[in-house]
């Protein structure tokens, strides 16, 4: 069991390292660099920068050096927790990301909790009462949830919020708290703003998980161990909750692995639509302007989140499934 955990940890470290390499290479794939893009941007706004200035910038950012050297410099910086300065904002990357990281994680975890909280009971209901009216209703909503793009759903909710309730749904803070330092009032304000983006983020994942849970549970409900549990005199509710539901839980545990990064990267459009101060829009912007260090840092973060999420779901699976714990299943 310990070797299993250690092996997973070792693999996680190697995976994160591989992610940094790929990230860096991808960010250097475009034929033009940040300075060229920046010069074009400045030119578009009417003024211009001279070639000498551009060269000076390249020198300052180390863009003239070979890729390998740049990578090595970046990696040794990251290793000691220094993520460099954003080209575009002219401030340290950590400062640019700032609170956005925590808000993103808060929003993601919240969305996962909502996803599970909705999908588990609905999935169980749909399987146990297969082909009932309730099952059909949930199935319909589920497919609608899968088919309707999240951002469209976000737009609809914003529209309804504005028209019917006369409130602005966007953002995570009211305008008076936007730039205010943290206080209890600000936390309270945040708590009021969180549920709707959480719900929107959770929608697609919930629809998907309900389908998975329903299908899995339907399989499990027909297994002989369910019959023998009934034959022992256990009540129907206890039979279902203790045995087949437990067996059908595996996919739930495995979903953390992809839900965690999905709610960060998959939410870019929603974040833009709802103007949420999360990492997503920042990533989009840094990629457009080729803000190398900012982009690398965010992608590295996503990578670490994915790896961490997978590790977490592996450990969770090990905890709930004795066959994995005792090395019967690979």
């Amino acid at each position: 069991m310990l070797t299993y955990v250690l092996r997973r940890l070792g693999l996680a470290v190697i995976t994160v390292f591989a992610i940094t390499v790929v990230t860096f290479v991808i960010l250097h794939l475009p034929p033009v660099d940040f300075v060229t893009a920046y010069a074009a941007q400045v030119a578009a706004s009417g003024s211009s920068i001279s070639p000498a200035e551009a060269d000076a910038m390249r020198l300052a950012y180390g863009l003239n050096e070979p890729l390998l050297v740049q990578y090595w410099k970046w990696l040794s910086m990251v290793a000691v927790g220094d993520f460099g300065r954003s080209f575009e904002y002219g401030r340290p990357v950590t400062e640019v990301i700032g609170d956005r990281l925590w808000l993103t994680i808060l929003l993601s975890l919240g969305a996962i909790v909502v996803t599970w909280g909705l999908a588990l009971p609905i999935g169980i209901y749909s399987a146990v009462r297969q082909y009932s009216i309730g099952d059909y209703i949930f199935t319909f909503i589920g497919f609608a949830g899968l088919a309707v793009p999240n951002f469209l759903f976000a737009l609809i909710i914003m529209y309804v919020g504005l028209r019917v309730f006369n409130t602005s749904v966007g953002g995570l803070f009211s305008s008076e708290f936007q730039l205010a330092p943290w206080s209890w009032a600000k936390v309270w304000d945040l708590a009021g703003h969180l549920p709707i983006p959480m719900l929107i983020l959770a929608l697609a994942g919930t629809a998907q998980l309900v389908r998975i849970m329903r299908a899995n549970l339907l399989d499990e409900l027909r297994r002989p161990y369910v019959v023998t549990a009934r034959a022992r005199g256990l009540s129907e509710r206890r039979v279902i909750m203790k045995y087949p539901v437990r067996a059908a839980l595996n996919p739930f545990a495995s979903t953390i692995g992809y839900l965690l990064p999905y709610t960060v990267s998959g939410s870019i459009i929603i974040s833009v639509v709802l103007s949420l101060p999360t990492v997503g829009p920042l990533l989009l912007h840094s990629l457009i302007s080729q803000d190398m260090l900012l982009g690398s840092t965010i992608i590295l973060m996503l990578g670490v989140l994915t790896v961490f999420g997978t590790l977490l779901s592996d450990l969770l699976l090990m905890w709930i499934d004795p066959r994995i714990r005792l090395g019967q299943l690979k």
Partner: protein, 333 residues
């Protein structure tokens, strides 16, 4: 013979689907007596397992008991018709496991892989007694020892996938008998096991039957198992009983052509090497396309015109020996 402990009368269990009605059990009647074994034999899909599930009232939807009676003489002396009890009610639940134990046919998947065998075994005891946790655990270990599981005090904390098929089936038997029921239904208890293990499990069931004066209902498709274990036999075909009687009559003086065919198709060690095994011609009809008249007539070597039209009534052949076949109807009439 004393009063039966469980008596099934004209049981009909149907599965109603959009495509049609499957008459899984279509009129069976039999009695179970303490200390005796009733063998129920027939091909796959003849309604043996559904009969067992009907008695315990755990037939899966869309199946349900359409008519018939299942009379159980309870431990307190009263008699109750199980078909009238609510399936998930307190009475039915106390009968399941408490008065009727079930051993199911697949030891590989009849235990949950997510719970230790002790967890499931102790659950079976807890549901029907008021013992303390410690006493329940002790009793569970005793039960495991009783069914011949080595080192029961350690085994109780293992998972089912850590045990062999034979050991798992022993655990299943321990679980079925945990609350000391007086009726044991064993649905193909040895089908998934190799021959040596099979013999051990059958010996175990026989030993426990003697110790506890159990009424055993043994469901199998294996005539060899029937010959070894049963006192009385019911032969089923497509949900109907075609012949029933004492085991000696069934084996030495079978009357129904189906029973005769079943007996002919048993491989024998005395047979000429490489000789062909006798088979029953044709195959079991699709459940939605059940033949009219006698259900066996398309495959029957002795069929007459009447077999295609009318369902044969049961004819008494000898003491406790009846068959449903037109061949003997003339004699009776």
């Amino acid at each position: 013979m004393a009063d039966p402990i469980l008596s099934v009368r004209d049981l009909h269990t149907y599965f109603v689907a959009d495509e049609g009605v499957v008459r899984a059990v279509d009129g069976t009647s039999f009695d179970l007596h303490s200390g005796r074994t009733l063998g129920i034999v027939g091909e796959s899909g003849c309604g043996k397992s559904v009969t067992a599930k009907s008695i315990l009232r755990i037939v899966e939807r869309p199946g349900r008991i359409v008519s018939g009676q299942i009379m159980l003489r309870r431990q307190n002396g009263s008699t109750v018709d199980l078909t009238t009890l609510p399936t998930d009610g307190r009475d039915m639940r106390s009968i399941r496991g408490g008065e009727i134990g079930l051993v199911f046919q697949e030891p590989m998947s009849s235990l949950s892989a997510f719970h230790t065998i002790g967890n499931q075994l102790m659950e079976a005891i807890r549901l029907h007694t008021n013992l303390s946790k410690r006493a329940i655990r002790e009793q569970a270990i005793e039960l495991l020892a009783m069914v011949g599981i080595p080192r029961p005090a350690q085994r109780i904390d293992s998972y089912s996938f850590e045990l062999s098929g034979g050991l798992r089936q022993r655990v299943m038997i321990a679980m079925a008998l945990a609350a000391e029921p007086r009726v044991l239904i064993a649905d193909e208890p040895t089908t998934a096991l190799d021959v040596t293990t099979q013999a051990q499990i059958l010996d175990l069931i026989r030993r426990l039957q003697q110790e506890r004066d159990l009424a055993v209902m043994l469901i199998t498709h294996d005539m060899g198992v029937i010959a070894e274990m049963a006192d009385d036999v019911v032969v089923m075909y497509l949900g109907k009983e075609v012949e029933k009687g004492p085991v000696d009559d069934i084996f030495h003086a079978p009357r129904h052509p189906y029973t005769k065919s079943l007996l002919r198709s048993i491989p024998s060690v005395l047979a000429e090497p490489r000789s062909r095994l006798a088979t029953i011609t044709g195959s079991i009809p699709h459940p939605f396309a059940r033949p009219g008249g006698c259900p066996f007539h398309p495959r029957c070597p002795d069929r007459h015109a009447v077999c295609e039209i009318t369902v044969p009534a049961e004819v008494v052949i000898g003491e406790n020996h009846v068959t449903a076949c037109h061949l003997y109807n003339k004699v009776a009439a």
